[in-house]
Subunit: 293 residues, 4 copies
């Protein structure tokens, strides 16, 4: 694919690009990034729930969502950093990367992006929804389709289960996010999006059977707000009253717990990077009895 | 694998390589690249449709097609850029990378490559087709095999569904193609083919249940033209009259929509690359209270 | 994700980081690393055993565990080297990388980390365990769940089968671990964790049907010790008396066999790295008849 | 994993390493590399055929074999180039990389390595074979297990089908092998093993339903020779007399066809690498109307 120059229309566009108002530019980035992430991600969930038969595989959900994260972060990394998740924004605030007011603004932009994504994916797959449930939208049950938009808990877990689930899932996200971005671990920036994608693939294989690993308040609440217009108040109160709060609140706790667990348990001991890369950093003994040939 | 030198026959061959006529060289590249892409890709689809049992898995289709894109682009990137898709060529024209007349020529070469691929894959798997349908070729239905060559829509979507489906799928392709090749995103060229492959894997997990994500007029029309000689006019008019136009036309719209959506929504705000890589580009506050040890 | 600076709290924390006592720091690293590895890995196994239906796929276990290894090694590589496995530590001791006393200390830290991981994953998925077996914990059988914590052999293998299985599986791990870390093979350090992850994915596809590829005494014994408090002595004596010793002992043999097999079979012949990278190292003839254009 | 120094035993070993007799060293490398490749690969096939139930997935075969190729090439690349396949050796001979006598010697070493791998994997999984067929080894049929060692064709293809199948499969291997190692395509050597692995994953998703993609005479014939001692002459004459020759001979043709197809169709036109990397190599027009900001 030819990448040698930027074309005239692209260049003309750039005269109108937001350059001076960093906050405005980053809000656009977070809105668009979360929109495209959730549009693709919800498409994957719809194919899983409604597709039926051969195109329905959990590993496809894992791999698809992982690459969706990778590409959405890649698209927005140089502007807003590709946070795309209010819980991640809060964690980065706690580490001094952005103001609390920005976290609020980012969260709104992210949730709005997810809302629009839900509306468009619903339009896109509208005929398939109709064919699946005969036009009779219900939240849960055999023909329930609200799970295409937001999480609903597995029947085997109780009231606090979803909170615990989301704290744990998002803690794993926060922990390894801090591993990846800790400059002492020397992971080149160009590969951060791919590792975030692999991280999401991993979480889905082990922490997805309770709620389906939303671990992102914007990704869960934005589509749920849209689903309200389709399914009514059941989307907030199924399977129990106020369930919607679990995936909307718990990830904030989880991200902080996981991110700072890294810093307390590992990061604070992580040795500084020294120029002499040959210096052993692990303190392991070398029994060098014979000279190297 | 030893790569240290080029051998004499290869060198002798290079005296006959097309060096001065860039268009001719690029047409060879697009023809061969699309041929090899579609030969492998159609092999994957045949294994999925006809293989039956253990070797038939949707995730295998996703991963196989992704790597097929990766390798076909890798093989042709240094000549024609590895476009292998008329919709991609049109998008690149709109961005000033090649002339409109070249887009036409490329499209013909790509479609011809896909046609030849279909003929050869049919010969290769001929016995398996015969065993599957008893030698009675039909387009659709329980023993229908035309889906091995080109897309046919899921019965649950109506007349315009395929158009919408292909616009959306190709828009995602065009959007992230522009993310990957935007030099401001600093993705090394050597990795572009792999990311294009991951992109196709992702699209297949979420946007494949309506038509099977052709998102490439050459990949769909070329094999359909070949299938005409096997199945007759049904390949153009199943399940409804003129269906074949949807995957042949809609991807052009989708690629333009998706590609320029990137430039309007994100690319125009994307900051220039500065040499000082330590400069923060995201405008995020740094509360650096303590000196770095 | 913004990585440009380290924040004040992180910097303040670093005043308390363990810098001078390398052993203590490395024990923390091995404890935390094995904890997070096993917490994620056991979550994957629970989802596989108890999840049922759509979220239960062996390939998900392979990919999930592979990425869990990758991320856990990535998080701890710069401190203790991310060994996270007593058999790996013993192999590295035999290669002169650390003292035998340290191997003992590392092994205890690793096993303790795995024990804590088992306790926490049990708490996390407690409701799912209860729903699965009606609160009646049994080691094996249709409702048995002890396999979520540690390995139990397939009924088709006899007394020594598990020993052979673990020697073979860990030998593959040890062999390729030595391939990856042999500096003569010139694999950049930043990619070591990913290749370790791919290695684990590979082993699971071909050597997982007997015991489920624990190939790590800490990963097997730590959770088994925790499981003792849930299931009783059956976890040590199922399906036969003293079974627990196989995955606790055999990996030490396997890692030594595999690692040194590499050095005896390949490593000792591996040519030194010379600065002139153009020099052919494979001794293959070059019939360079025509000059390169 | 600590890699900072080479240990005394490793260094002492290196005094005995084969340094002067390049052919002997490369034969060791090819023997060991093909052994480890086939040991792992046959383990994967056994798990697929005999494992049954949850651990049996075609995608696992694809991914496992791909990584097996990757690691086996990685382990031997700096000595013999990691050819591990007589058809690949012949292709490299035709490109002037090694003498024809060496191809013969390599082929013997590779086949011997595969033979030993088959013997050891049989010992390793012996109990599982017995449990599967009640100790009554048969080549084909419901309880047939010879397919764990070598390929047998799908019943739907005729006499020449296996020849065509192996020519096509190995041609794809040879074509992209030449893409990867063509220095003009500028793919860093450190990534060659990974791309070879991805290549094998791809081939398995689309060209595996006829014979199971052996595409390697050593990998097929070596284990078949071992299987003769277990199953008798049926391994050479099932399902038809002399079937064994197809996967033993056809890959040589396929590799030459595919490799030289690349050079004739693409490689001879591939432009030379120039130092000025900014120079456009694709001949695409640039309509640079506005200066770059």
């Amino acid at each position: 694919m030819t990448t040698d120059s930027q074309d005239w229309l692209q260049e003309r566009l750039r005269f109108h690009g937001i350059k001076s108002n960093i906050l405005a530019r980053n809000l656009v980035s977070e809105f668009v990034g979360t929109f495209i992430l959730c549009f693709i991600g919800l498409g994957i969930v719809v194919q899983f729930h409604i597709g039926g038969g051969a195109t329905t595989q959990w590993i496809g959900v894992n791999i698809g969502w992982g690459f969706a994260i990778m590409f959405a972060v890649m698209a927005t990394a140089r502007m807003s950093g590709g946070q795309l998740n209010p819980a991640v924004s809060l964690l980065l605030w706690s580490m001094g990367h952005l103001k609390l007011a920005w976290v609020l603004a980012y969260s709104l932009a992210q949730t709005a992006g997810a809302f629009v994504a839900a509306a468009l994916i619903y339009a896109y797959y509208y005929e398939r929804f109709d064919a699946f449930d005969g036009g009779n939208r219900t939240v849960l049950g055999a023909n329930g389709t609200a799970g295409c938009f937001s999480s609903y808990p597995h029947p085997d877990i109780g009231y606090w289960g979803p909170y615990i689930d989301q704290i744990v899932g998002t803690a794993i996200l926060g922990f390894f996010l801090c591993v990846i971005i800790d400059e002492r671990n020397q992971i080149p920036k160009v590969w951060h999006p791919m590792f975030f994608g692999f991280l999401i693939m991993m979480i889905g294989t082990g922490f997805g059977m309770n709620l389906g690993y939303p671990i992102n308040p914007a990704r869960d609440l934005g589509p749920r707000l849209f689903a309200y217009f389709v399914y009514g108040t059941g989307v907030f109160n199924s399977p129990y009253r106020g369930y919607w709060m679990a995936p909307a609140i718990a990830p904030f706790v989880g991200a902080l717990v996981g991110g700072w667990l890294y810093h307390f348990a590992l990061g604070m001991h992580n040795p500084d990077v020294v120029d002499d890369d040959d210096a052993p950093s692990d303190g392991h003994e070398k029994r060098q009895l014979l000279p190297t040939a």
